[in-house]
């Protein structure tokens, strides 16, 4: 970015001829740069801002803080001469910072190792490495059905009142670097409440991971516009940790819905032509500028994985925010109100959920050779069971054919025993074995997605299903929440690893 910022000379201008919402209009500014960082002093208060329209005559500045009480005539604008940059470095680990990178933890401002433009530069697609390293999150609905890999961006589509943030906390707590590589978590709180922040921080600290984390907060009470900066400031640090310091970085952003609302608010203030539901037409590009910063780079050690949380307004997946997010990210984990009400945690609805990079992260040497078939088969029977359940609601269970009845029974068990795991951690072997046991309750004519070859391996290696069923009682259940039913039928067993080894 802006390589001619070599000797920035701050210039001071007095008087703003017009002000509207967060926008200030100045005349006579010489050589204002697009994106230039400015300070705005008015009535004893200093605010930060940015040039969004650099003209010969009129320069438009967007102020990042609340403009309440700002007096245009008495305002002084200091043009910094450079575009926005932030301090990055390993030193930031363990810190809690604001959306613009200022300390919130009472400690001095970090010096860091470098100054980076917060807008970043696009990664050359030809330099990317295809992500393919399996991340074991310990959550069956993810590891088994929607596998996460390093360098992926996999959002959680939550709904009002659904535990999206809890699921993210769960992943942060349980995700493990398979070979003990350096690992860091960056949490970006955007527009969420202090209570939600606290919830996450408690879990985060409890897990002992906080010294390997950086927290950026731009909460509901902070100025709208700072929300637009927070994810980018955090990602500048994440890129440094991943691609310069060689760490595996997991970035959790909660909540992108508030980010998008801030974007809409600012666009309206700029009097831009609105797109769908009032959101600006460039929202796709803008979101891509955040999500596309995930990845793995050829010849560099680290990786940058993103788990943004999107609260779907009114649980509507076609709303522009989840919709555009889904077009950019590599899949989505969709939470379901129905499952949540049934006490299933995490309430992941696996049918609309998807991990586009799953195939790269599973298979021989990673999870199990038959993982793909196994998942396809679980999907197929579960989808049939869900359809049958809907049909049964109309015509009654007796109106169903036998295979439909079996599928419906399967769907119930699958939700309760496989998806629902409370706060227990299941390794991939346990997840796969649990899936097999549910499948093996069905006759093989219902399981045509499993190839003969896989059955042959399973039959020789696994013994017969009834014998193993007897071990279900040994399941070690660790339900830390103590919530009723959440981990009830949980079967987190170490399944001798028979199916997991290739």
């Amino acid at each position: 970015m802006s390589h001619h910022d070599v000797h920035p000379l701050p210039r001071i201008y007095r008087g703003v001829f017009a002000a509207a919402g967060p926008l200030l209009y100045l005349t006579g500014v010489r050589r204002a740069k697009l994106g230039e960082w400015v300070s705005v002093r008015s009535v004893g208060q200093t605010r930060r801002g940015q040039v969004i329209d650099a003209g010969e005559e009129v320069t438009v500045i967007q102020v990042l803080e609340e403009t309440l009480g700002l007096r245009p005539g008495e305002t002084e604008v200091v043009m910094s001469g450079t575009t926005a940059r932030v301090v990055v470095g390993r030193e930031l680990l363990g810190r809690i910072l604001s959306g613009t990178g200022a300390p919130l933890d009472g400690l001095p401002a970090p010096v860091g190792e470098d100054l980076r433009p917060i807008w970043g530069e696009p990664l050359n697609p030809a330099r990317r490495t295809r992500p393919g390293d399996f991340v074991e999150t310990g959550v069956s609905a993810i590891d088994g059905m929607n596998t996460l890999v390093r360098g992926q961006k996999l959002p959680v589509f939550s709904g009002p009142g659904l535990p999206g943030l809890q699921l993210a906390a769960e992943i942060v707590e349980k995700a493990r670097a398979p070979r003990g590589e350096p690992f860091a978590v960056i949490f970006v709180g955007v527009g969420i409440t202090a209570r939600e922040t606290q919830l996450f921080l408690d879990r985060f600290k409890g897990s002992g991971a906080s010294e390997w984390g950086v927290v950026y907060l731009s909460e509901a009470r902070d100025p709208t516009i700072e929300r637009l900066l927070a994810p980018r400031v955090a990602l500048a640090e994440a890129e440094f940790l991943a691609f310069d310091a060689g760490m595996h970085v997991l970035v959790v952003i909660a909540d992108m819905t508030y980010y998008c609302e801030a974007l809409r608010e600012i666009a309206t203030a700029r009097e831009e032509i609105p797109g769908r539901r009032g959101y600006p037409g460039y929202m796709y590009t803008d979101l891509a500028g955040i999500f596309e910063r995930a990845g793995v780079v050829q010849g560099r050690e680290g990786s940058l994985t993103q788990i943004p949380i999107v609260t779907m307004p009114d649980n509507d997946i076609t709303h522009p925010i989840p919709d555009l997010t889904g077009y950019i990210t590599e899949g989505q984990l969709v939470l379901s109100g129905d499952l949540h009400r049934k006490g299933v945690f995490p309430p992941v609805d696996v049918l609309p959920s998807l991990s586009r990079l799953m195939n790269a992260g599973i298979g021989p040497g990673k999870t199990a050779p038959e993982h793909r078939e196994w998942a396809n088969q679980l999907y197929a029977v579960y989808a049939r069971g869900r359809e049958a359940r809907m049909m049964a609601a109309v015509v009654g269970e007796s109106g169903l054919g036998d295979p439909d009845r079996r599928a419906m029974d399967f769907a119930d068990r699958f939700e309760r025993e496989f998806i629902g795991q409370g706060r227990a951690r299941r390794d991939i072997a346990a997840t796969l074995e649990l899936g097999w046991r549910l499948l093996e309750r069905l006759p093989r004519e219902d399981l045509l997605r499993i190839s003969d070859a896989t059955w042959a391996v399973r039959d020789t290696a696994g013994g017969d299903a009834t014998v193993r069923d007897a071990t279900v009682g040994d399941a070690t259940v660790r339900d830390a929440t103590g919530r009723d039913g959440a981990g009830r039928d949980e079967a987190a067993r170490s399944a001798e690893g028979t199916e997991a080894s290739p």
Partner: protein, 671 residues
């Protein structure tokens, strides 16, 4: 190299020889001619333009003055960094430039230089196997220069100037040549002949011509009037390349995907839109077609999509072998990549660049498949620029000329006799993904496409959630090429092909109706003949229409296998109906073995198709003739006979595709 090429192009294409068509025609604001073609890396500005300065920068648009000398769609260098941009509006001496790179840091007062040329594609040997951005900069070589992240203001010629080629002349001194003629050829990739074309607007008598090894930017021939000819030439991307004549669409573009080849075939030179909400598998379809469809050359435009997907293509394509040529898939592919986080203006240009590459290989006489993923991102880029120009918006904020622009673009596809001698037939088949917001096809981009396409492959989120892939909604999708292609299919696949297709569609339609009824009264309340329809239709959906892009045996389906699956499912249906008529009870018919055998047929490589199909046939025939008790053992024996290999994971090794090609999973395992 750029200097040489510029001279070449300037001499080769005088401004008045380039008709003002294409992009300029849809803009009414100024009647300027597009400037002549030159290379992608323009020379320093002329003195007249040096005085121009920026007066305003907002987003990706820069406004400069004075630009009285500029032509619409002329390329400009903006600011001290020399960012690449295109003049898109002229108003008096004020010009608006759409900048292809990140504009942050630009300030009013910085210089603007006109280049005297429009945005052009550099065409010549060396394009195959390369990966370029939306304006033709080679991304691999940019990385050598600037590292892993793309800085603004970088330049590099599309074609590597340090390459050299072995040139075999096709004409001799004294021969009279004209635009489009084949001057000679080079072997671009092992086994792939790149015909060196005379630029469309050049002609004359050959004075001298070289032979043997020449460097990429050398003069290989000179006309009597002194015009030098090079291995390559430049062409403005927004202008269709001229052809001798267009041909009717009477042969299919065989995709290897059953649901497309069987139900909704596209003609070679045809156009298809693939709309679908997120997660419905647009990208997988585009990539699968890029890998397995019967094309000589594939141009893949990643327009505003994911960077990791491009990494996947780059990782996977080089190791996949095209069974028809034995060459790596990458050797027939050109990737144009402008991911969603790269500048928006270049995204707008990227589809035109891809189309120009496709037309160029078409002119050599090849069948080219152009894939664009996704046209919605292109339309959004158009909307964003239009909005910044403060044009009056049309529906959903898209500019009112969206439909025209899309129509003009789709019309560049087609099967043609190329201009020039010797006669060559080539085709550009265009398959464009569309990402409708919320999966709602009533939105402007899908609707604009529907007006001009010949085929619609509509993807459905419901099917995708059930993991029915490709998630093609057979009730909404259509092909307007069916009648034109029927003779080809009859000749190639047998006279019963159209009937089979009609019967399968009828079965699916009946299934739809029955499922609605079953939803009200329950399956148990249906008659046996209707329950048969539900069961057979489910089998058709899974075995015929469903196809796994990740199963090495089934990722590509030869037409024989497609036909066998369709014919056998229908035969099973007929047999059951006959048995019911003869008094059998549906519950007592055990069709599990036949179903299983159909799945085995689906999962088998092309070498096994005949044996497995025969096996299914026997099992269907056995349905009526045998006692249920005796069936099991006999079926097992038949199964055994038809499937000689042992059922181990090794039997899943790639067969049909190519022996050397690892599957995505296999490839990954080695990493």
């Amino acid at each position: 190299m750029s200097r040489d090429r510029d001279t070449a192009a300037d001499a080769a294409s005088p401004a008045d020889a380039v008709p003002a068509r294409g992009a300029a025609a849809t803009k009414a604001s100024a009647p300027s001619e597009p400037p002549p073609a030159t290379s992608i890396a323009p020379p320093p500005a002329t003195s007249a333009a040096c005085a121009a300065r920026l007066i305003r920068i907002t987003g990706s648009l820069a406004v400069a003055r004075p630009l009285r000398e500029a032509a619409l769609y002329e390329l400009a260098r903006v600011g001290e960094q020399g960012l690449l941009g295109e003049v898109i509006r002229l108003d008096g001496d004020v010009g608006t430039i759409q900048v292809y790179e990140d504009t942050s840091g630009l300030a009013a007062g910085e210089p603007v230089a006109l280049t005297g040329s429009a945005l052009t594609a550099a065409l010549g040997p060396g394009l195959l196997g390369s990966i370029v951005d939306g304006v033709g900069r080679p991304l691999s070589r940019l990385a050598q220069e600037s590292g892993d992240f793309l800085r603004a203001g970088l330049t590099a010629p599309t074609l590597d100037p340090s390459a050299s080629w072995v040139f075999s002349p096709g004409v001799a001194p004294g021969d009279l040549v004209e635009g489009g003629d084949v001057l000679g050829e080079v072997e671009e990739r092992s086994g792939f002949t790149h015909r060196i074309l005379i630029p469309p607007d050049v002609g004359g008598r050959i004075a001298e011509i070289s032979e043997g090894e020449v460097s990429a930017d050398a003069v290989v021939a000179v006309l009597e009037d002194g015009t030098p000819l090079y291995l390559g030439h430049a062409w403005p991307v927004r202008q269709p390349r001229p052809v001798s004549r267009r041909l009717p669409s009477d042969r299919p573009f065989v995709t290897g995907q059953r649901v497309f080849d069987f139900l909704f075939p596209v003609a070679e030179g045809g156009t298809v839109a693939v709309p679908g909400g997120f997660g419905t598998g647009k990208t997988v379809i585009e990539q699968t077609l890029a890998k397995y469809a019967a094309a000589d050359v594939v141009v893949y435009v990643g327009c505003g999509e994911r960077g990791n997907e491009m990494a996947e293509v780059l990782n996977e394509f080089p190791s996949l072998i095209d069974p028809r040529t034995g060459l790596s898939i990458m050797d027939r592919t050109i990737l144009v990549v402008n991911t969603s986080n790269m500048p928006v203006a270049a995204r707008e240009a990227s589809v035109y660049l891809g189309m120009t590459y496709a037309e160029y290989y078409r002119d050599m006489g090849y069948g080219v498949a152009l894939m664009a993923d996704s046209l919605s991102r292109w339309a959004e880029a158009l909307r964003e620029l239009s909005s910044r120009l403060q044009e009056m918006p049309g529906e959903e904020g898209y500019p009112t000329y969206l439909g025209n622009r899309m129509g003009a673009f789709y019309e560049r596809a087609g099967r043609v006799i190329a201009a020039g001698r010797p006669e060559r037939t080539g085709a550009v088949t265009f398959i464009g993904a569309i990402s409708p917001p919320g999966g709602d096809f009533s939105e402007p981009v899908t609707q604009a496409a529907l007006r001009v396409i010949g085929g619609l492959w509509a993807l459905d989120a419901g099917l995708a959630h059930q993991r029915q892939f490709p998630a093609v909604d057979w009730e909404v999708s259509y092909s307007l090429y069916m009648d034109a292609l029927a003779p080809w299919f009859v000749e190639r696949c047998g006279a019963d092909w159209p009937e089979l297709r009609a019967a399968v569609l009828e079965l699916l339609q009946r299934d739809r109706e029955l499922r609605d009824i079953a939803g009200l009264v329950g399956v148990e309340a249906l008659q046996d003949t209707d329950r048969v329809v539900l069961d057979v239709a489910a089998l058709v959906r899974e075995t015929l229409l469903g196809q796994s892009a990740y199963d090495p045996n089934d990722a590509v389906s030869p037409l024989e296998k497609t036909k066998a699956l369709a014919a056998l499912s229908l035969s099973l249906h007929r047999t059951i109906l006959r048995l019911l008529e003869e008094g059998a009870a549906y519950e007592e018919l055990d069709i599990a073995a036949a179903r299983h055998a159909l799945f085995s047929l689906r999962n088998s490589g092309s070498a096994d198709v005949e044996a497995r199909a025969l096996n299914v046939e026997r099992l269907i025939a056995a349905l009526g003739t045998k006692e249920p008790e005796g069936e099991g053992a006999e079926v097992a024996a038949l199964e055994e006979a038809a499937t000689p290999e042992s059922p181990t994971p090794e039997s899943l090794a790639p067969e049909s595709l190519a022996p050397e090609s690892p599957t995505p999973e296999d490839g990954e395992a080695e990493v």
